[in-house]
């Protein structure tokens, strides 16, 4: 049982009211509701917080100060900050499928029953076995792993890497799918205000009062920023009251939207912003139908960056001990959460605002034992509260070490003269100036610039439409934040065409922001950490310098400085400051690393929205889908389409059996197949035929009205893009089909050809793929079947409607339809197109009409078997790597016209005689099975690079031949019919001797389709 629990329970034992359950809760004050106790657990121990707490404030209220272990040395760590910059207090939130590793306790809102656990420790947080790493710290210097673990080579994967991986990493991911869902929203506004502190509120007020559409985003549950964490006054009002009034006024404005609990994580091109709203993270489980989080994509005309600033820690020995905190955080815990992070405080500051901590702590009932300011002189009056509190005031001094097991119990202070003394305290507040949050304005590759006045980087060139205000701009005085915010809000509204009134200047209580940064305190005995989470110490930066890793990016990558989950929010500046000292360069010359989105880590699920599981992509159903589903079809995915692969009947046990029956029925009677997925493009206009002639490689000018023709489309580089048909329905009216896989690509290609290559042509086109249902009716009884559904006036006799005829007809009593006499199966066949809304009815009508002939529906498998039997090439052969000649279609290329790809297809490598060309294959032993993807090698040849002669593209079991057959691409294939090669398939243990033949196994004279 841990000491933390002992303390908590001993404190809790006699308690009667919620407040006294928490030994470090102040008696009054803070923006919390003491009447609403919220029980929660940490590492299995029960505690109680109150409404308004974060997990961090609740743990501190219960006296829990050790909350985590560091990444490399497993050093005990406490809570450093009170905001999203927290590097130390990372916990696993919740359990089971909702477990969230690496959650910053400082931003996790407490709710009743919250279960939390520390991470990266074993067996317990207090007694962590890997804390022995700290003893080996001299070995584990930055980059040590680049210099060892090299021998023997095979040990890396077997031994070293598994050990390193197990020790590394932070929290544990949930093991089950995320049970929650996420929304995605698109929003537009005139003025986007990023940050709801004083500057942001003033900006939103000014813009909103002018009538602009405003979106204000703020990370916290309640906007207000530092106004909620400090004791300030604006005019006659307390800062918190002013903030509450401002929010109230904004909420009353119809065109203002306040998004609280929302982090603006990234700035993107063209005025696009990404934000995440944590809709349900402050409750145990989202309400029914509510998302866990909502991802906002915001398009804004103007943006006002009022994201504030992050306080800088000091770098000194043992600065990572639990109890050492940022001064601003100490004030936030006291003022906002009514929690004292200690009983006896010391303050280590280099800035005037650090001194504010003294009065706040004293007011909350704590003792302040010392204020250490490394400056030799400070403004008169600054020390007043400290003097009154009886604290020691140590100017020109620095904290150089800490002690405590593991929580802070004492600090070592060195005076300017070099004298050291130990001072007992259990909380040290560090104030070392603030860094404006220059992340968001840097996302569009703009570099921040150095502001010597505040010794920090401030926004440089801002993205278009963005202005920075307040602390984000380096203006740390409240009055500047308010006035600057109001001016920027009014200006942004004016830019959007709204007349804005400049508000009168705000007045505040007296303030000062004098500051002299101290990048590194004098050396003490303990390790002085720069990046807390990644355990990068000042000595690691020295080592990087020694080894030549002096460029900022090198420093970062070699030491991992700034690469932890906080992305260096509290560490980058100190790292740069130390590197500047080491190289003797001014700090701004050392530079900054590149800030990248997201500002704080964003859940992957939130960015994916609803696009997961079955909803990952749209599902397209064919017109016959309902019938097929009801009749037990097995479906196959084809792009976004679901197509019936085959239709098993009762008693059929094997898909091959079903497919064999479907093929045999088509070849002996009649079958129907839904081919609506093919691309259909309607092309009209005086010059339609000219465009078609340019796009297709075979000749079309001679195509008469009422005829269809096979079409080959080449890419500009001379390879085949797709094949299909073009039908001339009228003099200036055509319909072109494309394969299912290339439907969109061919449409795109036509648009490209028209808009870019031949803009002078008078032609219009549109995709009608989804407007027409299209069914293939194939087999000796196809005509008989069709006759029963078409309107009597339509003559489809062989003489009136021969092979490749096409016409607009009517079916079912006047329903407009199109009939094409084309065949993929090699049988007498038609394709009938009806408006998609009639598709289901037409499908059923055809089945009824063919019933007496024994009609079968057939799917893509039978379709494929029959096309392979016929030697028709399809997607497996038209794979973007084959020419028309490779596919046996070379003879169709027009000689007397120009077309896209004509010259490029004549490039030497494309007419190389050795190129693999389409052949048919059949196993020599008819019992052998062959598989697509097998390579061709000589019968007696040892497999090797030189032996590779091509590959098998498609295979099918042919019911006609009673054996497996295939189509492949073979070097010199046209000359090798009758030769034997191996279909070599080592990845499936296949090796079959096959005979090469012509790629057509059924009815080579094509008599059946003309009867």
């Amino acid at each position: 049982m841990s000491l933390a629990l002992d303390r908590a329970t001993s404190a809790a034992a006699p308690a009667t009211s919620p407040a006294t359950l928490q030994p470090f809760r102040t008696a009054a004050g803070g923006l919390i509701d003491r009447s609403q106790p919220l029980p929660f657990t940490f590492d299995g121990h029960a505690y109680t917080g109150v409404a308004g707490d974060t997990l961090a404030s609740a743990l501190l209220a219960n006296g829990v100060r050790l909350v985590g272990r560091s990444f490399k040395y497993h050093r005990p760590r406490g809570i450093l900050s009170a905001g999203s910059e927290e590097p130390n207090a990372l916990v696993e939130l919740r359990t089971g499928a909702r477990r969230e590793p690496n959650t910053r306790a400082t931003v996790a809102e407490l709710y009743e029953g919250l279960e939390t656990a520390s991470q990266n420790r074993w067996p317990s947080l207090r007694y962590d076995a890997l804390s022995i790493n700290a003893l080996a710290a001299p070995v584990f210097a930055a980059g040590f792993y680049y210099k060892t673990f090299m021998w023997p080579a095979s040990f890396w994967e077997k031994l070293y890497e598994p050990l390193i991986r197990r020790a590394a990493g932070l929290g544990r991911a949930a093991e089950a799918p995320d049970p929650d869902h996420y929304d995605r929203m698109h929003a537009h506004c005139d003025v986007l205000v990023i940050g709801g502190g004083p500057a942001g509120l003033a900006a939103a007020l000014a813009a909103g009062r002018a009538g602009a559409r405003v979106i204000l985003v703020d990370e916290e549950a309640t906007p207000g920023g530092r106004l909620l964490a400090e004791r300030r006054t604006i005019g006659a009002l307390a800062g918190t009251t002013w903030a509450g009034d401002a929010i109230g006024e904004l909420r009353a404005m119809p065109d203002v939207r306040i998004l609280s609990r929302t982090t603006l994580f990234g700035v993107y091109d063209h005025g696009q912003y990404g934000a995440i709203e944590r809709v349900s993270d402050h409750v145990a489980v989202p309400e029914e139908h509510a998302p866990r989080q909502r991802y906002w994509r915001i398009a804004a005309k103007r943006a006002i960056l009022a994201a504030g600033a992050i306080e800088r820690p000091h770098v000194f020995g043992g600065n990572d001990r639990p109890g050492v905190m940022l001064a601003g955080a100490v004030r936030a815990y006291i003022n906002k959460y009514g929690v004292l992070p200690g009983r006896e405080f010391a303050v280590f500051t280099t800035s005037d605002d650090g001194w504010r901590t003294v009065a706040d702590a004293v007011a909350a009932g704590a003792r302040v034992v010392a204020v250490i300011d490394s400056r030799f002189e400070v403004r008169a009056g600054l020390t007043q509260a400290a003097v009154a509190a009886g604290a020691r005031i140590m100017l020109g001094a620095q904290v150089i070490d800490t002690a405590g097991r593991p929580e802070l119990a004492a600090i070592t202070v060195m005076s300017d003269a070099g004298r050291t003394e130990t001072i007992r305290c259990d909380c040290l507040a560090m104030a070392n100036g603030w860094n404006p949050i220059v992340h968001l304005d840097s996302h569009l590759s703009r570099k921040p610039v150095w502001d010597a006045r505040i010794s920090a980087f401030v926004p440089g060139g801002l993205p278009g439409g963005m202005t920075a205000v307040g602390a984000a701009k380096g203006q740390f005085l409240l009055s500047d934040c308010l006035d600057g915010g109001a001016r920027a809000g009014a200006a942004a509204a004016a830019d959007c065409g709204f007349a804005a009134v400049s508000p009168p200047p705000y007045t505040t209580d007296p303030e000062s922001d004098a500051h002299e940064p101290l990048w590194r305190a004098r050396a003490g005995r303990g390790k002085a950490f720069v990046d807390f989470q990644n355990d990068v110490a000042a000595t690691d930066i020295e080592l990087a310098h020694r080894e030549g890793f002096r460029a900022v990016e090198h420093l970062k990558r070699y030491t991992t400085l700034g690469m932890a989950t906080d992305q260096g929010k509290t560490s980058n500046m100190a790292g740069l400051g130390i590197m500047a000292e080491l190289t003797g360069q001014p700090l701004p010359q050392v530079g900054t690393t590149v800030f990248r989105p997201p500002f704080t880590p964003v859940a992957i699920g939130a960015l994916a929205g609803h696009h997961r599981g079955q909803d990952f992509r749209a599902t397209r159903h064919t017109p016959s889908h309902g019938w097929a589903e009801a009749n037990g079809a097995v479906f196959v995915t084809s792009g976004q389409w679901l197509r019936a692969a085959y239709f098993p009947q009762t008693g059929e046990t094997d898909w091959l059996e079903t497919v064999r029956r479907e093929v045999s029925t088509v070849r002996s009677a009649v079958g129907i197949c839904d081919v609506s997925t093919f691309g259909k493009i309607d092309i009209q206009g005086r010059d339609a035929i000219k465009l078609i002639d340019k796009v297709c490689a075979n000749a079309f000018a001679s195509l008469p009205v009422g005829k269809a023709r096979y079409a080959i489309v080449l890419r500009e580089d001379g390879f085949v893009m797709d094949d299909g048909t073009v039908t001339r329905l009228g003099d200036t009216h055509f319909v072109m089909t494309a394969s299912t896989a290339n439907a969109a690509r061919v449409m795109q290609h036509l648009e490209y050809a028209h808009q870019w290559l031949y803009p002078h042509l008078d032609v219009q086109m549109t995709s009608v793929s989804e407007q027409w249902a299209q069914f293939a009716i194939a087999g000796p009884h196809a005509r008989d079947t069709l006759r029963r559904i078409i309107d009597p006036a339509v003559d489809i006799s062989n003489e009136a409607f021969p092979f490749l005829a096409a016409a607009a007809i009517t079916v079912g009593g006047g329903i407009a339809a199109r009939l094409f006499r084309i065949s993929f199966s090699g049988e007498l066949a038609y394709e009938l197109a009806v408006p998609a809304g009639y598709g289901d009815a037409a499908w059923r009508a055809i089945l009824n009409a063919g019933a007496s002939y024994g009609i079968t529906p057939y799917g893509t498998e039978a379709l494929s078997v029959m096309r392979i039997e016929k030697g028709h090439v399809a997607t497996a052969e038209i794979n973007g790597q084959t020419t028309a000649r490779d596919l046996g279609l070379g003879g169709m290329m027009a000689k007397k016209k120009d077309f896209i790809g004509r010259l490029m297809k004549e490039r030497p490598a494309l007419i190389e005689p050795e190129r693999p060309i389409v052949v048919g294959v059949r196993p020599v032993d008819p019992n052998d099975r062959i598989r697509a993807g097998s390579h061709f090698i000589g019968v007696d040849v040892t497999p090797g690079p030189e032996a590779d002669e091509g590959y098998l593209t498609s295979v099918a079991f042919s019911p006609v031949l009673g054996q497996w057959i295939g189509i492949g691409l073979l070097k010199n294939g046209a000359q090798r019919h009758g030769e034997r090669v191996r279909a070599y398939d080592p990845v499936r243990n296949g090796d079959v001797v096959v005979e090469i033949c012509a790629p057509c196994f059924v009815d080579p004279k094509e008599e059946k389709l003309r009867v």
Binding site: Y146, T148, A168, G274, H554, T565, P598, G933
Partner: protein
């Protein structure tokens, strides 16, 4: 100082005092036998192999920023040799073999981790395409296994097998594939090249390439003119800009590719997995971050940052493949500028200008090629003729038609 466990332990006792810069931060000399423009992985590897294999040590690598600041430090660290077409297969296999001995060759632990690369398939057509690829690999002596659904499930049980829009049918596995710590490759080659006499000159941007009588004589830089008998360009991402200095228009477009890393996590996934029904690939770094990515943004750009539409697409792919990712968080995303060539394959060749050599067009597959690229480029420069391994990577192949189009999408760079 040679790197070893012993030296690390010794320095632990000496407060790490004796380490010296890993490579000399050299100032430019008046002239060199060979200047390599570009201090990324390919440029540094080229310099290393020039010195190591060809004894050419009077070499400078010019880097406009700092070593490794380009795509060598921005990629998703995947190495593999599971290529399809004859022009690529032996080259990438050579690269894999060089990765396998890299650390011993250059005495630098780049964490070459042969944890396997698993490409998933979701349709029969994809399965057959992977069989074609795998069989081609096996014929070339490269390891490849075609896994069925059960075998994939045993390896990566947390993927979506039950409710997927595009159910996983299986995968093509190359066990020798894996990941390599990308920065360490740049640093390791820099150190090894520097140790062999190569001058690594940082913050030295090339502003012009000087020619006399049709041959290269040197380069103008932000640090002055530097003479050279031969100049090799290895500046993927900026190849077109450098080539424009000698009025060459390359068959290359520049595109941005976004990569992502999650927060650090305890070990979750022990291999590299690529989704076959969307563009998404993922592995886990030794430090614990999930490293993942997807498609290029699709428009021409020199800005190393991507936009939300592609980011959403990548996350959707991730969630479709692995629904347990939902609550894990993206820590950072960044962009790299890709030399997208017209057939998706690279160029390592001489140019029409005597003494000027080109290494370009790596699309988003350049990292895995680093050792072989350096090996072949060094050979091409030293011998003024390509090595057999880069014989297919000619600049004139778009004229001859001998393209190496693995995806079969033709001369549309944003589709490769």
């Amino acid at each position: 100082m040679r790197y070893s466990l012993l030296s690390v332990l010794q320095q632990a006792f000496k407060g790490q005092r004796d380490w010296t810069p890993q490579w000399r931060d050299a100032a430019p000399k008046a002239s060199y036998d060979v200047i390599i423009v570009g201090g990324g992985g390919h440029g540094l590897a080229t310099a290393y192999y020039l010195a190591e294999q060809h004894g050419i040590r009077n070499v400078a690598v010019l880097e406009r920023s700092h070593v490794g600041s380009g795509n060598i430090g921005r990629n998703t660290t995947i190495v593999r040799s599971n290529y399809l077409l004859p022009g690529n297969v032996p080259f990438y296999e050579k690269s894999m073999q060089l990765w396998e001995r890299l650390e011993q060759d250059i005495n630098y632990n780049a964490m070459v981790s042969q944890r396997g690369v698993l490409n998933l398939y979701h349709t029969d057509g994809q399965r057959d395409a992977y069989a074609r690829r795998g069989n081609g690999m096996r014929i070339n002596g490269i390891d490849a296994e075609l896994l069925d659904q059960d075998q994939v499930r045993a390896m990566v049980p947390f993927l979506d097998f039950d409710n997927a829009r595009f159910p996983i049918q299986g995968g093509l596995l190359q066990r020798r594939g894996g990941t390599v710590r990308h920065d360490a490759v740049a640093w390791g080659y820099a150190r090894a090249a520097s140790d062999r006499g190569v001058d690594i000159i940082q913050n030295c941007a090339v502003t012009g390439i000087r020619r006399e009588n049709g041959r290269v004589v040197g380069v103008d830089t932000t640090r002055g003119y530097i003479g050279a008998k031969k100049v090799g360009l290895a500046v993927a991402g900026a190849s077109s800009q450098l080539a424009a200095m000698v009025d060459m228009r390359l068959p290359i477009e520049s595109h941005v590719l976004t990569a992502f890393v999650s927060e650090g996590l305890k070990p979750l996934i022990d291999t590299v997995v690529t989704f076959g029904a969307g563009h998404f690939y993922v592995s886990q770094s030794d430090k614990g971050g999930l490293v993942f990515g997807g498609d290029i943004d699709g428009y021409n750009s020199y800005a190393s940052r991507g936009n939300l539409a592609t980011i959403e697409d990548v996350m959707e792919g991730g969630m479709a493949l692995w629904p347990g990712l939902g609550r894990l968080r993206v820590l950072r995303h960044w962009g790299g500028v890709m030399d997208m060539s017209m057939d998706g394959s690279p160029i390592i060749d001489k140019t029409h200008i005597e003494g000027l050599y080109l290494n370009a067009g790596w699309c988003y597959g350049g990292f895995k090629a680093t050792p072989a690229s350096g090996f072949c480029f060094a050979h091409t420069i030293a011998n003024d003729a390509p090595h057999a391994l880069n014989a297919a990577f000619r600049l004139d192949r778009f004229a001859t038609g001998a393209v190496i189009d693995e995806k079969g999408v033709g001369a549309q760079p944003n589709l490769h």
